[in-house]
Structures are given as structure tokens and as C-alpha cells.
Amino acid sequence: MASTAGGGRFLPGDPRTSEPYRLTPQTALRVAILAFLALGVFAVLFLRLWALQVLSGDRYLAQANDNRVRTLRVEAARGPIVDRNGSILVTNVPGTRLELWPADLPKTWHAQLKELQAISKVTGIAVPTMVAQLRQHGSDPLTPIVVQRGLRRDQVNYIDERAAQFPGVQTQDSYLRKYPYQSLAAQVLGYVGQISALEYKQKRTAGYQPTDSIGQAGVESTYDTYLRGRNGTAQLTVDSRGRPKGPATLVAQPSPGETLRLTLDIGLQRAAEKALRYGISLAHSGIEGAHADGGAIVAMDPRNGAVLAMASYPTYQPSIYVGHPDAQKLAPVIDPTQAAQANYPGINRAIDAAYPPGSTFKPVTALAAMQEGIVHPFDQILCSPDFKAYKQVFNNWTNLINQWIDLPTALGMSCDTYFYELGRRFYVLPADRGHPLQGWANRFGLGELSGIDISPEVPGLIPTPEWRRQAYPASQGYGVIDRTWKPGYSIQMAIGQGQILVTPLQMTRLYAMIANGGNLVTPHLADDVELTGPNGQPARVLRRFGAQPPQPSGVDPTALHYVQQGLEEATHAAFGTGVGVFGNFPVNIAGKTGSAEKNVTLPGDRYPQNLTQSWWCGYGPYDQPTIAVCAVIENGGHGGTAAAPAALRVFEQYFNKTATTTSHISD
């Protein structure tokens, strides 16, 4: 820098940037200083390394060999799950878990096998199971493997008293899930199980440990973060053979999980599950319901989407997952062939099964037709034994009628030919009108996930010409004729038949929308999360999930009024299809039967047969609805035979009133 000033004369350019440069003595000195600093730094490092490793290496080696502090996990009590009134649905009982510490197990394979055999003798867990678990977690010797959670008292005593014979084996306090109502709401609650390797990989950042339990389905899974609590830690010193030297010291207190309050009502849930079994037994006594073997009932508050009851049949006891699960008891839920034989008790049919809706879909057709101006509620259309169009004959469900009727009457008597005519009118709409029937079905929440807070949920299907083109591609050998949307599809869809599929929850949401004046609610099961009190009772609300505000569906209130009127006629007019069931119930219930034909392959059969799915959907009280109910009985025959009487049982429990069922007209 000393002589830069003179250089500017010789070359043009920015004098600041292209200034001539030469290592000045000053810079050289500074580089030298840095070099000496570097030498000093490395000297310090080498000296320290020498001091630690060579001079006091033996001392540290002894320290490392004596380093046998084990960090134990002190399990937090999982939060209880209560119903809307605070009655406990799921809680905990203290249990003992058996852990293997790979680092402390005998070092030779032979000795290890002998010890595992001894453990197997006490606990009844197969040796290969434990070996497989050890292999899986073998890479981390300081993470214990939980081989069993529900150890019996005598087993605990046996192992604790012979600790010397079981190096690397430890018994720890644990909590087991307890279900006071056994199978009640099993599919809604879900169950708790050991975290899988995949789940651990996905959730390790959220603080999960490889030995943790985690909610595996239902609300146990959705709200796991609230229910799990925070595990504490304790430290334990062990000797060179892995035997504890003295008691463990608590380092961090576990904090118990929070209480989850559901919108379910235990009484109504129990009534719904009983009603399902009742509906199936009714179906069995009818002609067309001999194959009835499953079903679902959903009850919902139509004002906010709070699910009051969600029943699915067949069901199972979540307690089969508790402790060391018994493969035989689990088989109907997890083994594919056994599950098929038991008709899939693990499936929540309210959200995870889709059926053709049959006549319960007619309100959608009616609303869409009025909105699109292709029918007026007082237009008289002929209700006849059959409907002929496009060289095809579409039959009415009864041939004892030939009369001109208006829209509410058509809904009330569930006249198929009236709706065939509407379906035809939808079909002949010009192309620029789109597909309004499907469009309105979508706006009413059909064909899409309802957004309920448990999974898995299926979206169902509202077929459109576009869907048909994509679902039957030429690449799979389908012809043009398969890809074409034919008039029959529109006509069938008008009465909820064909390829259309809906879930019972979607239908409940639809009828809640009709009940509350046209607003689509978001179904939900969780009400809030509360601090768990000292005796397991909810104490203080920490977080409220509550209801999302209902979304207007855009339906005309006047049009909706005529549909409501039709649904009320269905349960009260002389010609109503549900009048035999609901006609003399003290509370005014409005609703619609449905008998949907579906090709079903029964277990053991080779070919599918056409069986009728029994539906009923409705709400009450008619003027100020506070509950919407949908019931479906698989292969249960006509709606009025099985589903409607089952739904009535739910209303009876809800309003605490009984009705006497008389004869009934079907559909």
C-alpha cells in the first residue's frame, strides 16, 4: 500500500480496484502473525490431546468402562377419552412392561438364546418374536425393546426376584388402555399400538421414541399428540452385567396426557349399536334381507355437525390390542381371509364404506331440478308402473299406481317414474348447462371427503360423463360404447342407482343440510381437549375444537321447503313410505326410505348377486331439528323393513319416547 499512489499514471481504470499490489512488509508481518497463531493453536490442541489420551488415558478408559448409566423412560399416563357428558369411554389401568436392553444382554448368542427361552417360559412370548424385535432395533443398544406391556403380577415378581438370572431384562411401570364399554364405538375410538418403524421415521421429529405407543386408528390416532402426554426420564446405574445398582432416580417427571372430550353421547351410541343389530334381525325375518350382515348408523346434530353416535356393524373389542396382543384374537381385524369371513369388523362403515343411496338420493334430484328450473314443485307428472324412454323400460317400485302427482307427493310416496322423468330432463339439457345434477350432489357434499376428524374416509362417487370417459380407457380394452354416457345413466342416477356411491356419513350430512335450512356442516367427533384431573376426570378446557361454521350450500330456501314437506309426507301422509314406522311417534320426524340395489358377492360365493341395501335418512323434530340420523343395513332389503325401524330406535333414545310400529309401505 505504501507506493500505490504513483501507479495510477501508467494504466487507466478505476484506481481503487486495479491498484497495483505487492505484498507489503506490513501484510507479510500480519500473515506471519497468523501463521504463528496457527502454530500456537495446533500446539495447544496437540498438548491437550496428549494430556487426555496418553497421560490420563487409563483413568478415562476406566471411566468409560464404568459408564453404565441407563436412561429409563417413565411412561406418561395416556389421556382418557370421554363422551359429551364426561362419561369415560377409554381410560388406563396400571400395568407392567417388560423391556430388553440389547447392550446388557449376554454377549454370546448361546447365552442370549438361553435367556430368551427363560423369558419365554415366564411370559409365554415366543422366542422368535423377541429375536425378530431384537434384530429390528439392533442398531441402537441403549434403546430398550418392549416385548410385552401387560405383564401379570406373578410374572413381574418372578422376574424381579431373579434379576441376576435375567441381565438386560427390566420391568417398568406402564399403562394399559381400558375400555369400560368393551366394543362400544370401537371403530371411532381406534386403538393404541407400538409405533411402527415407518411411523417412527415420519414422527421422530415430533418427539416420538422407538419404544412409544401411538394411536393407530380413530380419534386415538387423530388426537395422539394431546392424548400421549410427555414421558419422563429416570436414570439407573447398572453394573458390568447390566444389573441395576440401586434404585432409579427420577430426572424428569412425566406429564399425563390430556383428556379428549368427544361429541358422542354414550347412551345414544349404545342405542345406535343395538338398533343396528335390531335392524339386521328384522332384515333376516323379511324376504329380501336374508343376507343382511352389516351396516352403519350415524346420528348428528344438524346445527353444527357434532356427531352424536356413529355405529358400525360388525364390530370388535379394541382391548384385543392391549398388552401383548394375541394373534388369534387379532386375526379377524388384521388377517385378510379371516377379516373377510368376519365381514371386516375393523372397518368403520359410516365413513369407510360406500353404497348406492337409492331413494334417499331423491331429495338431491328434486332440489337440483328445481334449482335448474326443469321442474316446478306443483308440476303434475304421471306416476305410473313403468317409464319408457330411449327404447328402454324403467320400472317403478310398485305397479299399483297410475296418477298425476306433484313434487312433495313424489318424495312422500317415493315415486320412481316421477324421478325418471326428471333424470331424462337432466339428460336432454344442452351441453353448455354442464351436469347440474352431479354439480348439486357435489355441492351437498357427496362424492368428496366430509372432512371428519378420523380416517380413513372414502369419498364415494358421483359419476359424470367425464368420469366415465376416464374410467373406461381404450388402453384397458374398453370400447367407445363403454365410454359413452347413456341416457339410462342419468335416469338411474335420479333415483340414486347406477354407479353412484355415498357413505352413511355423507348422507347424514346431506339430511342435516336439509334440516338446518341449506347449510353444509363439517362433521366432527372431538369437542375439546381438557386437562386431566387427579382422578382421571376432565378438569379444565385447554383447547376447544368445536364446530366449524356451517357453509351455505346455495340452495333456494323455497325449493328446500318443498323437499322438507315431501320428507314429512313420507313419514306422515297415508301414502308415505315411512308412515308405518314413524307415523305415530310422538315427535314429528321427517325422512326418506331407500332400497338400493347393488351387486354383492357374498363370502363363499363365486358370482355376485343383486341384493338390496336398506336405507333410511331423516331428522327431527320437523320444525326445530336437533338430530339427523342415517341408517343403512347391508343387504337388508327394503328401507322400510330394516333401516327405518333401526333409525326409529335412535330417535326413541334421543327423545326418550317410544313409538308403536304398525305395518309399513315399502320402498
Partner: protein, 394 residues
């Protein structure tokens, strides 16, 4: 004096043009092959070390992943050789403000998720801007200082550079990443030093730094003002009294010293190194990699790594002395000192003679951002050396 200066410059310029037109073979000949050897050695040694260190971790050895980062780093290294360092000087403003922008973005994203966020997730790779920022910071600051070289004797230029430097330091500090903030501070000191700051100013700055550090760690907390979170302060000061809180803040430190000591002269091997294998030594793949290496490979193994580092630092300082212009000299000096600082603080902390901070051990600690950044830094050193005036060797 003046004639000599003209002479030097003329030759320097000629050689610069030469460097641009000479072919690949001439370029290869002009590389610093001792530095190349040191680089290859430290990378290979680091991969071998990390294979042993992570062999028993959940998920298995990280050597494949680390090797992939090294391969990407090598590509960056080669690419940087072709870039004239003067381009960085001309682009100092975009480099500086771009780096600041990304840091602010990281902070904002972190604030949005209410936690410490140092990374940007770009899908296949989590990118840690403050790591790359180390080198960019030196490049930008050197540019500001080289332009003000003639006014270095007045306090204005050092103060301006200080202003430029403190903003990114504060941003990194807020992430919060105290270790990296310290590296930035060291780099700032180094570039000021090489740029020719007056001794008196330098002493004042060092004194001020010490006063700030003391007040943050002891004086202000004593007065009830906590700049650092308690755990951060405990980590920084824990090494001065290692046995105070065995299960708490100094747990890692105690386990680390035990690991280093237990390694002895020859090391305990991958299987025998219980401190690492049984996970007593936390973060042994990243922050405490040196302790783990010392445990597994002993005094000999650790010394080989330190000697390779020393070789890198020595060649880097040599490049400072042979640089073409002041800008290149400042950049090389900043990189050299930053490298030295990281090696020292990381290895010294595992031995209990420096505060515990999350600084990665260059070319060893598992991490893509750090690996690629170090390749970038050495690449810039080589790029400077390639374009040196040839007088000394002609």
C-alpha cells in the same frame, strides 16, 4: 520504490492475462498441489472416520450420504477454479444483500414455526444458508475493504466494515446459532486484520469484543438482563467448571472428555468405542465428531487429522502471501483464519478447553451444507493461487 511498484504491476497484469488464455494443462500445473493433497487427504480421512463414527447409529453408516455431499462439493470446487475472484469483488453488493435476504427469510420462516430454524428445505436437501454465508460474507466484506484500502488508517473505513459485518452476525445470532455467529466474528476480525487495520484500532476492537462477551455472559446476567437463553450461557461457560452439573449442561462435555481420554494412544476401534456406540456421546456425527474420532482412532488417528488441517492452514496462509491483489489476499486470509478458527473451536470444545457451540468440524461432521461450503472455500483459495503473479516462480 515507485519504479519497483510499476514493474510489479505490469508483470502481474500480464500474468493475469496469461492465466486466462493458457490451457488446461498450464492451469493444472499452476494449482497448489500440496493443498490439493491436503484437501484429498482430509476428505478421504474424514469419510473413513465418519463411517466408523456412525456405523452403530440408528439408520446405519452415514458415509454414503457424506460421500455424495463430498462429490457435490468436488464439483463446486472445480467450477470455482474457473471463476476469476475479481468477479466476486465486483458482485460484492448482490452477494452481501442476497445473503442477508436469505438469512432474513430463514428467520421469518423460523418465527412462523415458532422455533429455531436454520434450514431451508428444498426437498432432496435441507440447505443451511448461514453455512454458505460464511464464505459469501468473507467475499463481500473483502470487497468493501479492498476498495477502502487507502483509507484504512482512519477509523472511518474499519467502522464501515464493522457495520457491514455486524448485521449478518446479528442475524445468525438471532437464529439462534451462536457457534456460527462466532465464526462470522472471527472472519470479520481476520479480514480487517489483513486489510491493514491499524494496530491501535485492532486492539480497541478486540478489547471491545472481550468486554461484550464478558457482559453478555457474566455482568448482564448478574444485573438481571439475560441476552442469552440460560441453556446457551450454560453451554458457553460450562467448560470452565466441568463437574458442576453432571447430568445437565455439562453432561455432553463430560462424556466428550471421557470419550477422547478413553481413546488412548491407539484408539478403541469402532466396536470397542462404547462412548460412541452406546450413544453416551450425543451428536457424535456432527458437533462431537472429533471426540468420537479420538475415541475410535486414538492419539495417532486424531493427530493425523490435525496435521492435515495444519497443512491446509499453512498452504492457505501461503496463498495470502502470493495473492495477485489486495482483494484476493483479504479473501484468502479470511478463509484461512475462519478455517483455523473452526478447527480449533470444534476440537478444543470436545476436549474441554473451548465453549460448547454447534460448529461443524470441517470435512468430517456429517452435513451437506458444511461439506459443500468447505469445498467452496478451498476452491476459492485455489482460484486465487491459479491467478497469482508468476514472478516468484519464474
Amino acid at each position: 520504490m515507485a519504479i519497483e511498484a510499476v514493474d510489479t504491476r505490469a508483470r502481474g497484469l500480464r500474468s493475469r492475462r496469461e492465466a486466462e488464455v493458457v490451457g488446461l494443462s498450464a492451469m493444472l500445473r499452476r494449482l497448489d498441489w500440496v493443498l490439493m493433497f491436503a484437501l484429498a487427504g482430509v476428505v478421504a480421512y474424514g469419510l473413513w472416520a465418519i463411517d466408523g463414527i456412525t456405523k452403530h447409529d440408528v439408520g446405519g453408516s452415514a458415509v454414503t450420504r457424506q460421500g455424495l455431499y463430498a462429490a457435490v462439493g468436488a464439483l463446486v470446487f472445480v467450477a470455482v477454479l474457473f471463476i476469476d475472484p475479481d468477479i466476486y469483488r465486483r458482485l460484492r453488493r448482490p452477494i452481501y444483500f442476497g445473503t442477508l435476504g436469505i438469512m432474513v427469510f430463514v428467520l421469518a420462516a423460523g418465527a412462523a414455526t415458532r422455533g429455531s430454524r436454520r434450514w431451508i428445505d428444498v426437498g432432496f436437501f435441507t440447505f443451511q444458508p448461514s453455512e454458505f454465508g460464511k464464505v459469501l460474507f468473507v467475499l463481500a466484506l473483502a470487497g468493501f475493504l479492498a476498495g477502502r484500502a487507502r483509507s484504512m488508517s482512519s477509523p472511518a473505513a474499519p467502522l464501515a466494515a464493522l457495520g457491514y459485518g455486524l448485521v449478518p452476525i446479528a442475524l445468525v445470532f438471532l437464529q439462534p446459532d451462536i457457534g456460527t455467529a462466532l465464526v462470522y466474528t472471527a472472519a470479520l476480525a481476520a479480514v480487517l486484520f489483513i486489510a491493514g487495520i491499524r494496530w491501535s484500532h485492532f486492539v480497541v476492537l478486540i478489547t471491545l469484543t472481550i468486554v461484550v462477551a464478558l457482559s453478555v455472559l457474566w455482568l448482564l446476567p448478574a444485573a438481571g438482563v439475560n441476552v442469552l437463553k440460560p441453556y446457551q450461557a450454560a453451554r458457553l461457560t460450562g467448560f470452565t467448571h466441568p463437574s458442576s452439573d453432571i447430568q445437565g449442561a455439562t453432561y455432553n462435555l463430560r462424556q466428550s472428555i471421557t470419550a477422547v481420554g478413553a481413546g488412548g494412544l491407539r484408539g478403541r476401534g469402532v466396536l470397542g468405542a462404547t462412548q460412541t456406540r452406546l450413544n453416551y456421546l450425543p451428536e457424535h456425527a456432527t458437533d462431537f465428531a472429533f471426540a468420537s474420532l479420538a475415541e475410535e482412532r486414538g492419539f495417532f488417528g486424531a493427530s493425523i487429522l490435525l496435521l492435515l488441517y495444519l497443512l491446509v492452514v499453512w498452504r492457505a496462509l501461503k496463498i495470502v502471501a502470493s495473492a495477485r491483489d489486495l482483494y484476493c489476499a483479504i479473501v484468502a486470509g479470511g478463509i484461512a483464519f475462519m478455517f483455523l478458527f473452526q478447527v480449533f473451536v470444534n476440537s478444543a470444545m470436545t476436549m474441554g478447553i473451548a465453549p460448547i457451540t454447534g460448529i461443524p468440524l470441517p470435512f468430517v461432521s456429517v452435513g451437506g451444507s458444511s461439506m459443500i461450503t468447505n469445498f467452496l472455500a478451498i476452491g476459492i483459495l485455489q482460484a486465487i493461487y491459479l491467478r497469482r503473479p508468476s514472478r516468484r516462480y519464474s
